[in-house]
């Protein structure tokens, strides 16, 4: 696992997924929407995000039936259990 705050680590995971989809230049903040109105994640990108969060934190919201809409909601989910 990487060192840093939960916010930093979640944002890094999101940036890694963006880089994989060729959108590394996108700005990412806690207010960023994950899907087409924001970062443009489709189902495959979201699946990648789910796997990356699980690898980084040992859990992810999607496995637990949640569907966060923003980076902030991702951080909230991860932070609630840390």
């Amino acid at each position: 696992m990487t060192v840093g705050t939960v916010d930093d680590r979640v944002i890094k995971v999101v940036r890694d997924v963006l880089e994989q989809k060729g959108a590394a230049e996108q700005e990412v903040g806690t207010e960023s929407s994950l899907y087409e109105e924001g970062l443009g994640f489709d189902s495959l990108d979201t699946a990648t995000l789910s796997a990356a969060l699980e690898r980084e934190f040992g859990r992810d919201p999607y496995t637990e039936g949640e569907f966060p809409r923003t980076v902030g909601e991702l951080i909230q989910f991860i932070g609630a259990q840390s």
Binding site: G22, S43, L44, A47, T48, A51, A52, D60, Y62, F67
Partner: protein, 454 residues
């Protein structure tokens, strides 16, 4: 046969909407006119398969009907296929006319959709009887060579039934038309004179807008589609739609998505359909539970008989695929029983789906063959060994996972970055590995197994 049905619908219901999209809205009568125009164009070309790539769904649907009118086999090539892949597909099927949105370079018979739709309609009557050329539906190839399952329209339409009241239905096309399920939607709406709504894309906003604007009441899609679509819906928004009928298929349905759909659409009927490209539609389940009732093993159900052999589901069907274009790809059989490749478990009064027999990965309803991905990974400098497998994923059902050993002298992160670059150039998005880990691999019984992660 497709064209014959459209002629009948156009005669009886010429002004009724058939194909509805943001760019095009065609009544049955207009669809017939356009099909005849395209068929006239095709009749003036050299015989052979007509390969279609790049048009919107309404134009593709019209082209399929026109090919039937002109007795040409049709084949839709995904927009995601690279030019090299398209060339292989065309060569594998014996060549033919390649129709795209943009004019192509020399060296192959080509045409554009603009030419086909913009041409004159012949004053000569086109044959009243439909052709027998049928359609080639592409499925994933094992090592990169694409497979094509050949169907006549008679076979594909043999399971279609006219259902009372169905002419009022408004269906959303949630599958692309190069998928078996997409074609079944087209056939169903044509046979029943229903309306088929064609969203401009599969983005959530476009889907929701299409559903609300055109008052879609029926949607058939994979569990992955539904998880993503329903995951972004709240109950209030769901109640603004007219959805009253939900169908799931293409991959195993789990209880989480069934429960979620019940919560969002409490008044909707929910049906799970079991079908494969190779075998056609098999049976459906409407009790809202995953898997199927164990009593299906004891009697004919839908279009099939079912049995379990060594933990694998086998079916015996009456209407299915004509054959593969390439004889090296044969469906596994036990006498008349055809192997589905699905592992199942009989528990009490229920049979549950447990995975695949051959390691074929199902990413959101799309089959991915591990060997193809492994070969690509192994072609990257610095990769000593690679193992590709399906990893369970709550969003897509499965994703492609890759474990690899890195040669000495190579930096792991650079090798992984190079694999991702190669994958983006050589694999479809579904095939691209989405979880890559460096591990120590060992060989056991001539198969690479993962020993430990680093």
């Amino acid at each position: 046969m497709l064209a014959q049905v459209l002629r009948t619908r156009a005669h009886d219901l010429g002004q009724q909407p058939f194909l509805v999209g943001t760019e095009r809205r065609l009544t049955f009568g207009e669809a017939l006119e356009q099909s005849a125009t395209v068929a006239t164009f095709l009749k003036r070309q050299a015989p052979g398969t007509v390969f279609l790539q790049g048009a919107d769904s309404a134009h593709l649907a019209v082209c399929l009907i026109a090919c039937d009118m002109a007795d040409r086999r049709s084949c839709i090539i995904s927009e995601e296929s690279t030019p090299a892949e398209a060339e292989r597909i065309i060569d594998n099927l014996g060549g033919g006319l390649f129709v795209t949105t943009e004019p192509l370079a020399q060296g192959r018979d080509t045409a554009t959709f603009q030419e086909m739709f913009g041409g004159p309609r012949s004053t000569d009557a086109l044959p009243e009887e439909s052709g027998t050329a049928g359609i080639a539906i592409l499925t994933s190839g094992t090592t990169g060579a694409p497979k094509a399952a050949l169907y006549t329209w008679e076979h594909l339409m043999s399971q279609a039934r006219v259902i009372e009241g169905e002419s009022d239905a408004v269906w959303l096309l949630a599958y692309p038309l190069n998928h078996f399920a997409g074609l079944q939607m087209l056939i169903h709406t044509l046979v029943n004179a229903s309306t088929l709504v064609l969203p401009p894309s599969r983005r959530f906003g476009d889907l929701l807008e299409s559903i609300v604007e055109h008052r879609v009441d029926s949607v058939s899609a994979t569990p992955t589609f539904w998880r993503n679509f329903a995951g972004r819906l709240d109950v209030e928004t769901a109640q603004t739609t007219s959805i009253r009928r939900i169908t799931l298929g293409g991959e195993a349905t789990t209880s989480d998505i069934l429960e979620h759909l019940h919560d969002l659409f409490p008044d909707a009927t929910i049906t799970q359909v079991y079908a494969t490209t190779e075998l056609g539609s098999c049976f459906s389940v409407k009790d809202g539970k995953p898997g199927f009732p164990a009593e299906y093993l004891d009697r004919p159900v839908g279009n099939v008989d079912l049995r379990i052999i060594d933990g694998q589901l086998f079916v015996k069907v009456s209407k299915g695929m004509v054959g593969y274009a390439d004889d090296s790809h044969r469906v596994e059989r036990e006498g008349d029983w055809i192997a589905t490749g699905d592992l199942v478990e009989h528990v009490g009064d229920r049979v549950f789906f447990r995975g695949r027999t051959t390691g074929i990965i199902n990413v959101g309803g799309v089959k991915v063959y591990p060997l193809k991905v492994e070969e690509l990974a192994l072609s990257v400098p610095g990769v000593r060994a690679a193992r590709v497998y399906g990893k369970p994923n709550p969003v897509a059902g499965q994703i492609v996972a890759l474990d690899l050993e890195v040669d000495e002298g190579f930096a792991a992160d650079q090798v992984i970055a190079e694999i991702r670059r190669a994958a983006q150039g050589g694999l479809s998005r579904y095939e691209q590995p989405r979880d890559i880990q460096v591990a120590t691999l060992e060989t056991r019984n001539e198969k690479i197994v993962r020993r430990e992660a680093r």
